[in-house]
C-alpha cells in the first residue's frame, strides 16, 4: 500500500508532496481552533494505538499488501473528527517512513493523500451521511462498513492512477486497478468489522470520548452481521461476473507479445499513445533527459562505447566504495572508540 519513491516520477511525487503539504498546513491551521489542549495527548496516543492494534489484528484474516494502519483512519475520523484524524494519520505515515523506512521520503505526499486524507474525509462524511441522525443500530453499522469499504477502495484506486501518471511501471492501468480494488475489497470488509467492533466497545465503556457522539448504538447484532454478509455476497457475485466479462481486457498482458504469432499486435505496450504522451511529459520535467532505448542493430559502435562507459561507472563506484570502507576500517582499528549504542 505504501507507495515507494521509485514507482513515482519526480513531477508526480513533487506535485503530490506540495499538495499534501499545503493541505496539511491548512488543516493544522484550521484544527488549531478545534483542538483543545486536552486533545493533544489523546491524538498522539490514538496514533500509537493504531500501530499497536496491528499486532493484535494479525489473527484476523490475512490482509495482503496493506499495512494495518489503514484500519485506523475511519475509526479515528469518527472518534476525533476528520481534521484531527487526518493530522494523526499523516503523522503515523511520516513516522512509518522516518523510523521504520516504510514508504519513500518523496512518496510521502502520495501516501498522505491516499491513506490519510482520503479515508479520513471520505470515510467520515460517508459515515455521517449513512448514519446521520438515525438512532438505529443497523444504519450506523452499515454506515461504518460503507465508510471503511469505500474509503479504502478510493485509496486503492488512487495508487494505480498515481503510478500510471508517473509512467514508471509498465503494468496496464486496468490490470493494476482490478488487482488493487480486488484485494482491498477484502481489506475493507475486515477493516469495517474491526472498526465496528472497537466502536461497539467504546460505546459500552467510554461513550464520552467520541467527538460528537456516536449516532445510535453500535452493536454487533447477529442480524446485522448476517445482513452484511448477504449484501457482500451479492456484491461479490455481481463483481465477479462483471470481472469475468472483462477478463480479456484484464489479462491482455499475458499475450501482449506472442512469439508464436509474429504478426500479433500487442494491445498494450509503450506504443500506447497515452503512455507515450506521459513519457514525453515526463522526460521534459525530469531533471535528466531520458535516452531512447536503442533497439537491435542500431548503431553498434555507439552502443559499444556506452557499454564501456557504464562498465567504468560500475567498477569505479564499487572500487570507491571499497576504498571508503577500507579507510574507515583502518581508522576505526587504530582508534577504537567505544560505541555508545544503547
Amino acid at each position: 500500500m505504501h507507495m515507494a519513491n521509485e514507482l513515482l516520477s519526480l513531477p508526480v511525487a513533487g506535485g503530490t508532496l506540495v499538495i499534501a503539504g499545503g493541505v496539511l498546513g491548512l488543516i493544522c491551521k484550521k484544527a488549531k481552533q478545534v483542538i483543545t489542549s486536552e486533545k493533544l495527548a489523546l491524538m498522539g496516543i490514538l496514533g500509537a494505538f493504531i500501530f499497536a492494534a496491528q499486532m493484535v489484528n494479525f489473527r484476523l484474516p490475512a490482509m495482503p499488501g496493506t499495512s494495518g494502519h489503514m484500519v485506523g483512519a475511519v475509526l479515528l475520523a469518527i472518534i476525533l473528527g476528520p481534521h484531527a484524524a487526518a493530522i494523526v494519520i499523516s503523522s503515523v505515515i511520516i513516522v512509518q517512513c522516518l523510523i521504520f523506512q516504510d514508504g519513500g521520503l518523496l512518496a510521502l505526499g502520495c501516501n498522505i493523500i491516499n491513506m490519510a486524507f482520503v479515508p479520513a474525509y471520505v470515510g467520515y462524511y460517508l459515515y455521517r451521511i449513512a448514519a446521520a441522525r438515525s438512532f438505529s443500530n443497523l444504519r450506523t453499522y452499515i454506515g461504518v462498513m460503507l465508510a471503511c469499504l469505500i474509503g479504502i477502495e478510493t485509496c486503492a484506486v488512487l495508487v494505480p492512477i498515481e503510478a500510471t501518471l508517473s509512467g514508471v511501471l509498465m503494468v496496464p492501468f486496468s490490470t493494476f486497478l482490478i488487482t488493487m480494488t480486488g484485494v482491498h475489497f477484502l481489506v475493507g470488509i475486515v477493516e469495517g468489522i474491526v472498526t465496528v467492533a472497537v466502536l461497539a466497545y467504546i460505546q459500552q465503556v467510554r461513550p464520552d470520548i467520541v467527538a460528537d457522539n456516536l449516532c445510535g448504538k453500535v452493536r454487533l447484532s447477529k442480524r446485522a452481521v448476517l445482513a452484511t454478509f448477504a449484501v457482500f455476497t451479492i456484491i461479490i457475485g455481481a463483481g465477479l461476473s462483471l470481472l469475468a466479462s472483462r477478463m480479456p481486457d484484464g489479462l491482455e498482458w499475458s499475450y501482449a507479445e506472442r512469439p508464436d504469432q509474429p504478426n500479433f499486435k500487442p494491445i498494450v505496450s509503450n506504443n500506447d499513445s497515452r503512455i507515450t504522451v506521459i513519457d514525453r511529459l515526463q522526460s521534459k520535467y525530469s531533471l535528466m533527459p531520458d535516452y531512447s532505448v536503442r533497439s537491435n542493430g542500431e548503431n553498434e559502435n555507439s552502443q559499444a562505447s556506452v557499454g564501456w562507459t557504464s562498465f567504468a561507472g560500475v567498477f569505479g563506484s564499487i572500487t570507491t566504495m571499497a576504498v571508503i570502507w577500507l579507510i574507515a576500517w583502518i581508522l576505526r582499528r587504530n582508534n577504537p572508540r567505544t560505541i555508545i549504542a544503547q
Binding site: Y201, Q204, V205, A341, Q342
Partner: protein, 240 residues
C-alpha cells in the same frame, strides 16, 4: 522426585543485543516452592517468559518431561500457568468472569465445569462478588488478585508468578502468602520484596545480570547479609 522444570545452559538475548539470560542451569522438583530473587534487571521476568516458551534462546528447557519447542508449546501451556508482571496485560476480556473463564473454556471443559472452576478461583482470591465487573474498574490490588485467579482457574501443575506482590497492601499481600503457601502445585515466584520471598519459598534462586548467583535454602541465602547487600537486596526483616 520427578523434575517439574529443568533448564540446561540456557541463554537468551533480546533482539537489541541485551543478554538477559546467560548460561542458566536450574532444575526444580515437583511441588517445590521456589522464589527467584534479584535486583531490577536481573533477568527474572525473562526467565519466566522462557519457561513458558515465549523467549526462544540457546540451550534447553524441559517442562514436565517435555522439551520447550514449537510443537510442544500447546501442551506445555496446559502444564505451566504464567502470570506476568503487569496485571493489566493479563486481563483483556470485557468482564472479570470472561477473563477467568477464558482458560478453562479453551481447555475444552464443558460449561458447567467452567462455571464451577471460575467460582472456585474467584473465591480463592476473594473476588467472588466482582465477577461481572470490567477489569479496568478495579483497583490495582484487585487487578492483581484477578490476574492470579485467571491462572488458578486452569489449575496447572506449575504456577509461575512474576511479582505477584506488586502494588498490594500488606493485608492483601499476606492473604496472598497464605493462599500460595497452601497451593499443592509447584510454584515459581519472582519478586524483589525479600519479606514476601522469605514468607513463601523453601528454596531461593538469586539472580543478577542474567546469571544465577546462588541457589539453595531460602533462609540461608536471604539471611546472608553480605550476599544480599552485594546484589542490591536486603535481608528480610521478619518471617511473616
Amino acid at each position: 522426585m520427578a523434575k517439574a522444570i529443568e533448564i540446561k545452559s540456557f541463554s537468551y538475548k533480546y533482539p537489541d543485543g541485551t543478554v538477559a539470560l546467560n548460561d542458566i542451569n536450574l532444575s526444580i522438583e515437583e511441588k517445590q516452592k521456589v522464589v527467584l530473587i534479584g535486583p531490577n534487571g536481573a533477568g527474572k521476568s525473562t526467565l519466566m517468559l522462557a519457561m513458558a516458551g515465549f523467549a526462544k534462546g540457546e540451550g534447553e528447557i524441559i517442562v514436565n518431561g517435555l522439551k520447550v519447542e514449537k510443537k510442544n508449546l500447546k501442551k506445555i501451556r496446559t502444564v505451566i500457568g504464567c502470570c506476568f508482571e503487569n496485571p493489566d496485560d493479563q486481563l483483556f476480556m470485557p468482564t472479570l468472569f470472561d477473563d477467568v473463564a477464558f482458560g478453562p473454556l479453551n481447555m475444552g471443559l464443558d460449561i458447567e465445569q467452567v462455571k464451577i472452576r471460575v467460582a472456585q478461583a474467584l473465591r480463592t482470591v476473594g473476588m467472588e462478588t466482582m465477577a461481572e465487573k470490567a477489569p479496568h474498574h478495579l483497583s490495582a490490588g484487585q487487578k492483581r488478585a484477578a490476574a492470579i485467579a485467571t491462572i488458578l482457574s486452569m489449575s496447572p501443575e506449575i504456577i509461575a508468578l512474576d511479582e505477584p506482590d506488586g502494588s498490594l497492601d500488606p493485608r492483601n499481600r499476606e492473604k496472598l502468602v497464605v493462599l500460595l503457601k497452601n497451593l499443592p502445585q509447584t510454584l515459581v515466584i519472582a519478586t524483589c520484596n525479600m519479606n514476601f520471598a522469605a514468607a513463601l519459598g523453601d528454596r531461593a534462586v538469586l539472580m543478577d545480570k542474567g546469571r544465577i548467583i546462588a541457589d539453595g535454602d531460602a533462609k540461608k541465602i536471604m539471611f546472608d547479609a553480605k550476599l544480599m547487600t552485594e546484589y542490591g537486596l536486603e535481608s528480610p526483616a521478619m518471617v511473616v
